[in-house]
Protein backbone atom coordinates (compact mmCIF):
# COMPACT_ATOMS: atom_id res chain seq x y z
CA UNK A 1 0.00 0.00 0.00
CA UNK A 2 1.37 3.39 -0.91
CA UNK A 3 1.95 6.14 1.61
CA UNK A 4 -0.81 8.20 0.06
CA UNK A 5 -3.35 5.45 0.37
CA UNK A 6 -2.27 4.86 3.94
CA UNK A 7 -2.88 8.50 4.75
CA UNK A 8 -6.19 8.72 2.98
CA UNK A 9 -7.26 5.24 3.93
CA UNK A 10 -8.24 4.14 0.41
CA UNK A 11 -8.69 0.43 0.05
CA UNK A 12 -7.72 -1.62 -2.98
CA UNK A 13 -10.39 -1.91 -5.63
CA UNK A 14 -10.67 -5.62 -6.11
CA UNK A 15 -14.23 -6.03 -7.38
CA UNK A 16 -13.10 -5.99 -11.00
CA UNK A 17 -10.66 -8.81 -10.36
CA UNK A 18 -13.46 -10.80 -8.77
CA UNK A 19 -15.61 -10.30 -11.82
CA UNK A 20 -12.93 -11.29 -14.31
CA UNK A 21 -11.96 -14.39 -12.38
CA UNK A 22 -15.57 -15.47 -12.07
CA UNK A 23 -16.27 -15.00 -15.74
CA UNK A 24 -13.39 -17.28 -16.63
CA UNK A 25 -14.00 -20.00 -14.07
CA UNK A 26 -17.71 -20.15 -14.69
CA UNK A 27 -17.32 -20.39 -18.44
CA UNK A 28 -14.95 -23.28 -17.87
CA UNK A 29 -17.12 -25.08 -15.35
CA UNK A 30 -20.16 -24.82 -17.57
CA UNK A 31 -18.17 -26.61 -20.25
CA UNK A 32 -17.15 -29.24 -17.71
CA UNK A 33 -20.76 -29.92 -16.86
CA UNK A 34 -21.27 -30.87 -20.46
CA UNK A 35 -23.99 -28.27 -20.64
CA UNK A 36 -24.23 -26.65 -24.05
CA UNK A 37 -23.07 -23.37 -22.55
CA UNK A 38 -19.79 -22.76 -24.26
CA UNK A 39 -21.80 -19.80 -25.33
CA UNK A 40 -18.85 -17.52 -25.68
CA UNK A 41 -17.86 -19.44 -28.80
CA UNK A 42 -19.93 -17.46 -31.33
CA UNK A 43 -18.61 -14.14 -29.99
CA UNK A 44 -15.08 -15.48 -30.01
CA UNK A 45 -15.50 -16.71 -33.56
CA UNK A 46 -16.58 -13.25 -34.72
CA UNK A 47 -13.68 -11.60 -32.98
CA UNK A 48 -11.25 -14.05 -34.54
CA UNK A 49 -12.68 -13.30 -37.96
CA UNK A 50 -12.17 -9.60 -37.33
CA UNK A 51 -8.58 -10.00 -36.18
CA UNK A 52 -7.49 -12.41 -38.88
CA UNK A 53 -9.13 -10.34 -41.61
CA UNK A 54 -6.78 -7.54 -40.72
CA UNK A 55 -3.90 -9.58 -42.05
CA UNK A 56 -5.21 -12.11 -44.53
CA UNK A 57 -8.36 -12.45 -46.52
CA UNK A 58 -10.69 -15.10 -45.07
CA UNK A 59 -14.35 -15.91 -45.34
CA UNK A 60 -16.21 -15.76 -42.06
CA UNK A 61 -17.47 -19.30 -42.59
CA UNK A 62 -13.98 -20.67 -42.97
CA UNK A 63 -13.10 -20.02 -39.36
CA UNK A 64 -14.54 -22.71 -37.13
CA UNK A 65 -14.20 -22.91 -33.38
CA UNK A 66 -15.28 -25.71 -31.11
CA UNK A 67 -14.80 -26.86 -27.58
CA UNK A 68 -14.51 -30.49 -26.66
CA UNK A 69 -13.70 -32.48 -23.59
CA UNK A 70 -11.19 -35.30 -24.00
CA UNK A 71 -10.54 -37.14 -20.77
CA UNK A 72 -9.10 -34.63 -18.39
CA UNK A 73 -8.41 -32.06 -21.07
CA UNK A 74 -10.53 -29.49 -22.73
CA UNK A 75 -9.66 -28.93 -26.31
CA UNK A 76 -10.43 -25.60 -27.85
CA UNK A 77 -10.12 -26.14 -31.55
CA UNK A 78 -9.81 -23.31 -34.02
CA UNK A 79 -9.84 -24.27 -37.64
CA UNK A 80 -9.01 -21.67 -40.25
CA UNK A 81 -9.18 -22.46 -43.92
CA UNK A 82 -7.50 -19.87 -46.09
CA UNK A 83 -9.02 -19.37 -49.52
CA UNK A 84 -7.03 -20.88 -52.36
CA UNK A 85 -4.66 -18.48 -53.98
CA UNK A 86 -4.47 -18.33 -57.71
Amino acid sequence: MSLLSLIFGSKPKTANMAKERLQLIIARERVDDGKPSADFLPAMQQELVAVISKYVHVNADDIKVSMEKKGNYEVLEVNIVLPEQN
Binding site: K11, A15, N16, I26
Partner: protein
Amino acid sequence: MTRIIVVTSGKGGVGKTTTSASFASGLAMRGFKTAVIDFDVGLRNLDLIMGCERRVVYDLVNVISGEATLNQALIKDKHCENLFVLPASQTRDKDALTEEGVEKVLKDLEHLGFEYVICDSPAGIERGAVMALTFADEAIIVTNPEVSSVRDSDRILGILQAKSKRAQAGGEPVKEHLLVTRYSPKRVEDGEMLSYKDVQEILRVPIIGVIPESESVLHASNQGTPAIHIEQSEVAEAYKDVIARFLGEDAPLRFVSYEKPGLFKRLFGG
Protein backbone atom coordinates in the same frame (compact mmCIF):
# COMPACT_ATOMS: atom_id res chain seq x y z
CA MET B 1 -52.69 -25.34 -8.02
CA THR B 2 -49.80 -25.11 -5.59
CA ARG B 3 -46.63 -23.32 -6.69
CA ILE B 4 -43.48 -24.82 -5.19
CA ILE B 5 -40.56 -22.43 -4.75
CA VAL B 6 -37.12 -23.55 -3.65
CA VAL B 7 -34.75 -21.10 -1.95
CA THR B 8 -31.28 -22.37 -2.70
CA SER B 9 -27.64 -21.28 -3.10
CA GLY B 10 -25.05 -24.04 -2.97
CA LYS B 11 -22.91 -22.07 -0.54
CA GLY B 12 -23.80 -22.01 3.14
CA GLY B 13 -24.65 -19.00 5.24
CA VAL B 14 -25.66 -16.66 2.43
CA GLY B 15 -29.20 -15.94 3.63
CA LYS B 16 -31.44 -18.79 2.43
CA THR B 17 -33.25 -19.28 5.72
CA THR B 18 -33.57 -15.52 6.28
CA THR B 19 -35.03 -15.25 2.79
CA SER B 20 -37.32 -18.29 3.09
CA ALA B 21 -38.82 -16.89 6.30
CA SER B 22 -39.39 -13.41 4.90
CA PHE B 23 -40.54 -14.57 1.49
CA ALA B 24 -43.08 -17.00 2.95
CA SER B 25 -44.27 -14.34 5.41
CA GLY B 26 -44.56 -11.78 2.62
CA LEU B 27 -46.77 -14.09 0.53
CA ALA B 28 -48.94 -14.84 3.56
CA MET B 29 -49.25 -11.10 4.29
CA ARG B 30 -50.63 -10.76 0.76
CA GLY B 31 -53.31 -13.27 1.66
CA PHE B 32 -51.92 -16.46 0.12
CA LYS B 33 -52.11 -19.69 2.07
CA THR B 34 -48.44 -20.55 2.39
CA ALA B 35 -46.27 -23.27 3.91
CA VAL B 36 -42.53 -23.05 4.46
CA ILE B 37 -40.57 -26.30 4.81
CA ASP B 38 -37.13 -26.67 6.38
CA PHE B 39 -35.14 -29.20 4.34
CA ASP B 40 -32.03 -28.81 6.47
CA VAL B 41 -32.41 -32.17 8.19
CA GLY B 42 -29.99 -32.43 11.09
CA LEU B 43 -29.35 -28.69 11.32
CA ARG B 44 -32.75 -27.13 11.57
CA ASN B 45 -32.88 -23.35 11.85
CA LEU B 46 -36.05 -22.16 10.24
CA ASP B 47 -38.02 -22.77 13.47
CA LEU B 48 -35.72 -20.34 15.30
CA ILE B 49 -35.92 -17.68 12.60
CA MET B 50 -39.72 -18.01 12.56
CA GLY B 51 -39.79 -18.01 16.36
CA CYS B 52 -41.73 -21.25 16.70
CA GLU B 53 -38.98 -23.49 18.10
CA ARG B 54 -40.84 -24.22 21.33
CA ARG B 55 -43.87 -25.47 19.49
CA VAL B 56 -42.06 -28.09 17.42
CA VAL B 57 -43.42 -31.55 18.20
CA TYR B 58 -43.24 -33.40 14.90
CA ASP B 59 -41.13 -32.70 11.85
CA LEU B 60 -40.80 -33.39 8.12
CA VAL B 61 -39.09 -36.75 8.66
CA ASN B 62 -41.82 -37.88 11.09
CA VAL B 63 -44.39 -37.11 8.40
CA ILE B 64 -42.44 -38.89 5.67
CA SER B 65 -41.97 -41.99 7.79
CA GLY B 66 -45.62 -42.03 8.83
CA GLU B 67 -45.02 -41.30 12.52
CA ALA B 68 -47.17 -38.18 12.35
CA THR B 69 -49.72 -36.67 10.04
CA LEU B 70 -49.02 -33.53 8.12
CA ASN B 71 -51.65 -31.68 10.15
CA GLN B 72 -49.93 -32.67 13.38
CA ALA B 73 -46.57 -31.42 12.16
CA LEU B 74 -47.59 -28.09 10.62
CA ILE B 75 -47.08 -25.17 13.02
CA LYS B 76 -49.22 -22.09 12.61
CA ASP B 77 -47.16 -18.91 12.40
CA LYS B 78 -47.59 -16.34 15.16
CA HIS B 79 -47.67 -13.32 12.86
CA CYS B 80 -49.63 -14.45 9.84
CA GLU B 81 -53.00 -16.12 9.78
CA ASN B 82 -52.38 -18.25 6.69
CA LEU B 83 -48.74 -19.24 7.16
CA PHE B 84 -47.55 -22.63 8.40
CA VAL B 85 -44.09 -23.97 9.18
CA LEU B 86 -42.97 -27.56 8.64
CA PRO B 87 -39.74 -27.98 10.64
CA ALA B 88 -36.84 -30.27 9.84
CA SER B 89 -35.75 -33.11 12.05
CA GLN B 90 -32.89 -32.36 14.38
CA THR B 91 -31.85 -35.95 14.99
CA ARG B 92 -32.13 -37.82 11.72
CA ASP B 93 -29.89 -37.55 8.73
CA LYS B 94 -30.70 -36.47 5.21
CA ASP B 95 -31.11 -40.04 3.95
CA ALA B 96 -34.49 -40.01 5.64
CA LEU B 97 -35.66 -37.72 2.85
CA THR B 98 -36.92 -40.00 0.12
CA GLU B 99 -38.15 -38.65 -3.17
CA GLU B 100 -41.48 -40.45 -2.79
CA GLY B 101 -41.83 -39.15 0.74
CA VAL B 102 -41.18 -35.55 -0.24
CA GLU B 103 -43.51 -35.84 -3.20
CA LYS B 104 -46.30 -37.13 -0.98
CA VAL B 105 -45.88 -34.30 1.53
CA LEU B 106 -46.08 -31.76 -1.31
CA LYS B 107 -49.18 -33.45 -2.77
CA ASP B 108 -50.83 -33.46 0.64
CA LEU B 109 -50.09 -29.75 1.07
CA GLU B 110 -51.81 -29.19 -2.23
CA HIS B 111 -54.87 -31.09 -1.00
CA LEU B 112 -54.90 -28.89 2.10
CA GLY B 113 -55.30 -25.91 -0.20
CA PHE B 114 -51.85 -24.35 0.07
CA GLU B 115 -51.18 -21.88 -2.73
CA TYR B 116 -47.44 -21.54 -2.18
CA VAL B 117 -44.92 -23.93 -0.66
CA ILE B 118 -41.47 -22.49 0.06
CA CYS B 119 -38.63 -25.01 0.41
CA ASP B 120 -35.68 -23.76 2.47
CA SER B 121 -32.74 -25.71 1.06
CA PRO B 122 -29.70 -26.74 3.07
CA ALA B 123 -26.29 -25.68 1.80
CA GLY B 124 -24.31 -28.01 -0.43
CA ILE B 125 -25.24 -30.02 -3.47
CA GLU B 126 -26.08 -33.28 -1.77
CA ARG B 127 -29.27 -35.13 -0.96
CA GLY B 128 -30.99 -32.48 1.15
CA ALA B 129 -30.36 -29.74 -1.39
CA VAL B 130 -31.39 -31.96 -4.30
CA MET B 131 -34.62 -33.04 -2.53
CA ALA B 132 -35.48 -29.38 -1.86
CA LEU B 133 -35.26 -28.49 -5.53
CA THR B 134 -36.55 -31.69 -7.15
CA PHE B 135 -40.22 -30.66 -7.29
CA ALA B 136 -39.73 -26.92 -7.66
CA ASP B 137 -41.72 -24.81 -10.11
CA GLU B 138 -39.59 -21.77 -9.37
CA ALA B 139 -36.23 -21.19 -7.72
CA ILE B 140 -34.81 -18.25 -5.82
CA ILE B 141 -31.04 -18.37 -6.10
CA VAL B 142 -29.65 -16.54 -3.08
CA THR B 143 -26.22 -15.09 -3.85
CA ASN B 144 -23.83 -12.84 -1.95
CA PRO B 145 -21.69 -10.49 -4.05
CA GLU B 146 -18.58 -12.53 -3.44
CA VAL B 147 -16.65 -15.00 -5.62
CA SER B 148 -17.33 -18.30 -3.90
CA SER B 149 -21.03 -17.60 -3.51
CA VAL B 150 -21.43 -16.68 -7.19
CA ARG B 151 -19.58 -19.78 -8.32
CA ASP B 152 -21.67 -22.01 -6.06
CA SER B 153 -24.84 -20.40 -7.37
CA ASP B 154 -23.76 -21.34 -10.86
CA ARG B 155 -23.24 -24.93 -9.71
CA ILE B 156 -26.67 -25.12 -8.15
CA LEU B 157 -28.22 -23.68 -11.33
CA GLY B 158 -26.61 -26.54 -13.22
CA ILE B 159 -28.09 -29.04 -10.79
CA LEU B 160 -31.51 -27.42 -11.02
CA GLN B 161 -31.31 -27.68 -14.79
CA ALA B 162 -30.33 -31.34 -14.60
CA LYS B 163 -32.11 -32.90 -11.64
CA SER B 164 -35.42 -31.12 -11.14
CA LYS B 165 -38.54 -32.95 -12.28
CA ARG B 166 -39.32 -30.10 -14.63
CA ALA B 167 -35.91 -30.38 -16.26
CA GLN B 168 -36.25 -34.13 -16.60
CA ALA B 169 -39.74 -33.91 -18.04
CA GLY B 170 -38.37 -31.56 -20.68
CA GLY B 171 -41.36 -29.22 -20.51
CA GLU B 172 -41.50 -25.74 -19.09
CA PRO B 173 -38.24 -25.33 -17.11
CA VAL B 174 -37.99 -24.19 -13.49
CA LYS B 175 -38.39 -20.41 -13.41
CA GLU B 176 -35.20 -18.96 -11.94
CA HIS B 177 -34.87 -15.74 -9.94
CA LEU B 178 -31.64 -14.21 -8.70
CA LEU B 179 -31.68 -12.63 -5.25
CA VAL B 180 -28.52 -10.78 -4.25
CA THR B 181 -28.31 -10.46 -0.47
CA ARG B 182 -25.99 -8.84 2.07
CA TYR B 183 -25.39 -6.05 -0.41
CA SER B 184 -23.39 -3.02 0.57
CA PRO B 185 -23.83 -0.13 -1.91
CA LYS B 186 -20.96 1.76 -0.33
CA ARG B 187 -18.52 -1.07 -0.82
CA VAL B 188 -19.73 -1.50 -4.39
CA GLU B 189 -19.23 2.23 -4.99
CA ASP B 190 -15.71 1.93 -3.56
CA GLY B 191 -14.90 -0.90 -5.95
CA GLU B 192 -14.54 -3.44 -3.17
CA MET B 193 -17.63 -5.52 -3.86
CA LEU B 194 -19.20 -6.97 -6.99
CA SER B 195 -22.25 -4.99 -8.05
CA TYR B 196 -25.59 -6.72 -8.47
CA LYS B 197 -25.23 -6.01 -12.18
CA ASP B 198 -21.93 -7.89 -12.25
CA VAL B 199 -23.50 -10.85 -10.49
CA GLN B 200 -26.43 -10.84 -12.85
CA GLU B 201 -24.19 -10.57 -15.88
CA ILE B 202 -22.17 -13.56 -14.72
CA LEU B 203 -25.07 -15.82 -13.73
CA ARG B 204 -27.52 -14.62 -16.40
CA VAL B 205 -30.61 -15.14 -14.31
CA PRO B 206 -33.31 -12.44 -14.06
CA ILE B 207 -32.96 -10.50 -10.82
CA ILE B 208 -35.85 -10.46 -8.37
CA GLY B 209 -34.25 -8.22 -5.77
CA VAL B 210 -31.30 -6.93 -3.83
CA ILE B 211 -31.31 -7.16 -0.03
CA PRO B 212 -28.92 -4.80 1.75
CA GLU B 213 -26.52 -5.90 4.45
CA SER B 214 -28.12 -4.75 7.66
CA GLU B 215 -28.07 -5.17 11.41
CA SER B 216 -31.82 -5.53 11.41
CA VAL B 217 -31.44 -9.13 10.21
CA LEU B 218 -29.65 -9.97 13.45
CA HIS B 219 -32.27 -8.11 15.50
CA ALA B 220 -34.92 -10.09 13.67
CA SER B 221 -33.30 -13.45 14.33
CA ASN B 222 -32.64 -12.56 17.97
CA GLN B 223 -36.37 -12.09 18.43
CA GLY B 224 -37.51 -14.96 16.26
CA THR B 225 -39.32 -12.60 13.92
CA PRO B 226 -38.82 -12.79 10.14
CA ALA B 227 -36.93 -9.70 8.94
CA ILE B 228 -39.83 -8.61 6.74
CA HIS B 229 -41.72 -7.66 9.92
CA ILE B 230 -39.06 -5.24 11.21
CA GLU B 231 -40.90 -1.94 10.76
CA GLN B 232 -39.17 0.76 8.72
CA SER B 233 -36.08 -1.31 8.03
CA GLU B 234 -34.56 -1.32 4.56
CA VAL B 235 -34.38 -5.10 4.65
CA ALA B 236 -38.12 -5.41 5.29
CA GLU B 237 -38.89 -2.97 2.48
CA ALA B 238 -36.52 -4.78 0.13
CA TYR B 239 -38.21 -8.12 0.89
CA LYS B 240 -41.65 -6.56 0.32
CA ASP B 241 -40.40 -5.36 -3.06
CA VAL B 242 -39.30 -8.91 -3.86
CA ILE B 243 -42.83 -10.12 -3.15
CA ALA B 244 -44.28 -7.38 -5.35
CA ARG B 245 -42.03 -8.35 -8.27
CA PHE B 246 -42.73 -12.03 -7.72
CA LEU B 247 -46.44 -11.24 -8.03
CA GLY B 248 -45.80 -9.40 -11.27
CA GLU B 249 -46.00 -5.86 -9.92
CA ASP B 250 -43.67 -3.12 -11.02
CA ALA B 251 -41.19 -2.24 -8.27
CA PRO B 252 -37.91 -0.53 -9.12
CA LEU B 253 -34.83 -1.66 -7.18
CA ARG B 254 -34.21 0.34 -4.00
CA PHE B 255 -31.29 0.57 -1.57
CA VAL B 256 -28.77 -0.21 -4.30
CA SER B 257 -26.97 3.09 -4.58
CA TYR B 258 -24.82 4.80 -2.05
CA GLU B 259 -25.60 8.34 -1.04
CA LYS B 260 -22.68 10.10 0.48
CA PRO B 261 -23.62 11.45 3.88
CA GLY B 262 -24.02 15.23 3.65
CA LEU B 263 -21.70 17.62 5.41
CA PHE B 264 -24.19 18.08 8.21
CA LYS B 265 -24.41 14.37 8.83
CA ARG B 266 -20.65 14.02 8.74
CA LEU B 267 -20.20 16.83 11.26
CA PHE B 268 -22.99 15.96 13.63
CA GLY B 269 -23.51 12.27 13.03
CA GLY B 270 -26.73 10.75 11.77
